[in-house]
Amino acid sequence: MMREMTGAEMVIQALIDQGVEHIFGYPGGAVLPIYDAMFHKNQVQHVLVRHEQGAVHMAEGYARSSGKVGVVLVTSGPGATNAVTGLTDALLDSIPLVCITGQVPTHLIGSDAFQECDTVGITRPCTKHNYLVRDVNDLARVLHEAFYVAANGRPGPVVVDIPKDVQFARGTYVGPENISHKTYQPRLNGDPEKVRAAVELLAKAKRPVFYTGGGVINSGPEASRLLREFARLTGFPVTSTLMGLGAYPAADKQWLGMLGMHGTYEANMAMHDCDVMVCVGARFDDRITGRVDAFSPGSKKIHIDIDPSSINKNIKIDLPIIGDVKHVLSDMLTQWRAMKAEPDRKAIAGWWGQIDAWRARKSLSYVKSPDVIKPQYAIERLHNAVKDKDVYVTTEVGQHQMWAAQHFHFEEPNRWMTSGGLGTMGYGLPAAIGVQVAHPGSLVIDIAGEASIQMCLQELSTALQFNLPVKIFVLNNEYMGMVRQWQDLLHGGRYSHSYSESLPDFVKLAEAYGAVGMRCHRPGDLDAAIQEMISVDRPVLFDCLVDQKENCLPMIPSGKPHNEMILPDHPEALDEAIDEEGKMLV
């Protein structure tokens, strides 16, 4: 399909042709022609945000919960720089986004014009790819290519920077048919020889573990299904990173819980003591490995990843398989059946015996209180109240995020949205709004802390404007809890600036926005309050006052290996856990 139109019309036409239904944006001088084109052709629903960072997080929540590419539209200069945090977040968590930014007209580029910034220069290190379109006749191709690059291979954010004169100029529009990138052709199928070698290794394994990550989610629901099938067939235990939660059902008996710094004892010990590790779409991040030279010392490591640069980045891999998770798992299953492979049942039973002994340490336990709401208890009760509903959960970043990961259990993929790699406070509320846009009838909850929620709280106004009844469940301990926890660990309990001073009255604040405000501070009132929160068909800001001093356990202290975890039955070990070298780490 080739037609003549303006650059601005091409943007809207390209979005329609890419099947985009919603975009998140904020107008400004350098994108006015695009907003005008949108005014004339009202096919894509625009969600007006209150800050560009919010727009990008909304698009992230939208993308991760729906499997589609999230789309953002912002203006030049501050519009683009405000989007940078969200773009970096999407890059680190491999979320497919297309972010269209306005730019000053081409003849003013480089003149320090009003609201000019070097958008492609600034976003080069925080995007998967970016473009500055100087010729209107390149625009349609670049836009379609941007969607291709964002969604294929390891997903990520792509920026298309469009000068204002290019938006006004007329040119030839081409449709998305026949657009594929000449060089960017990621490999989907794993090397058959390596797949066979991996299956042979698994059939001989005595202490295996599946270590799964966000790549399983990114590969689509079929990848989660295949993972479940493979796990069932072999009887092997499964753990996951923060980003992968939900790919394997938490209610299943082969589920070990999350691994890593605040993962379960059984998951981390299984990682440490295993003889064959199958990493599926995860990246051996420092939160996972702990001390790298003591990471799983006795295991053969198989690593399935679509991005070759993930292989051998932090940990030496014995058997790398480059490919998309669902393709590789499917081939492994076929190979397993073709070889009539059988797991070593006797050894696996022994391995489970060992795992059960670790499990018996109950590493997620905590001391309940009749007087004060323990944050873990709050998450438990929240989960209990909504577990049978069609529910999506987002979080901010900090202690509440880890407690949510530990105590809210996920049975399906795409239900859990959190900022894993970048650790962006302020992510959760806009992400929840994005999720709610994609799933209008579902229950969407942002589990938050009182510090994080203040970073993008302005988006509550967006939720009201578009009737998006998100629930914000704030675990309010009046501290930047994770900062305070690390000040306990590393700095002698000197709480330098980690107290949440001058907190607003969240109930009144919610009401000022036109949302519903609630507060609860007694454990006995919690269940009823949660029921009330989820029964309201409007945005709710729930101020849950919790124990101020609770720390997040279990924990692998920084600089320590998996088998030196601090467990809740010996929290005092935290005081001496981190040595001088560990203090350097984050």
Binding site: G121, R124, K128, H129
Partner: protein, 171 residues
């Protein structure tokens, strides 16, 4: 932090990239952002029709880091090919340098003799200076330059390494 500190190696990488604005910034930014070394870098268009440029990067790092550098370069969208000439077989490496020497009398004579023995050409002459042009492997140029230091070396301009594999096959 790699678990085992392996000894650093010097590798020469050849990249074929789209000749588009920002491609060099993308590559240089990758090196600086991830803390990799660039010992030398050359870039020029090699095919006007297909708008391709060839970049030669000489880098130093432990084998695990060198592998990382190649994978990271390879996943950049405008990068067509990454070839590690150091492991891909025999290759030719050449660099060009322009070197200015100032002096009078015997020193001048000595500089000319050394230039001759290194097959350097004299491309500019005044009554008290020479500019020499020399082409060769980087260590040959290093040696030439060090010999000229006591003979009135004023300044050096080097292109960085251009490299190509030996034999009939393209990269």
């Amino acid at each position: 932090m790699p678990p085992v500190q392996e000894a650093p190696e010097r590798h020469t990488l050849s990249l074929l990239v789209d000749n588009e604005p920002g491609v060099l910034a993308r590559i240089v930014g990758l090196f600086s952002g991830r803390g990799y070394n660039i010992d030398s870098l050359t870039v020029s268009e090699v095919s006007h029709d297909s708008k391709l440029s060839r970049i030669t990067v000489v880098t130093t790092g432990a084998p695990m880091i060198i592998d990382q550098i190649k994978s990271q370069l390879d996943r950049l969208v405008p990068v067509h090919r990454v070839v590690d000439l150091t492991v891909a077989g025999k290759s030719v490496e050449r660099e060009l340098a322009l070197i200015k020497v100032r002096g009078k009398g015997e020193i001048r004579q000595e500089a000319l003799l050394i230039a001759e023995s290194f097959r350097a050409r004299t491309v500019d002459t005044t009554l008290e200076s020479f500019v020499f042009e020399i082409t060769g492997k980087p260590d040959k140029i290093d040696q030439f330059v060090s010999l000229l230091v006591p003979l009135g070396l004023v300044e050096v301009s080097r292109t960085g390494v251009a490299a190509i594999g030996r034999g009939s096959d393209p990269m």
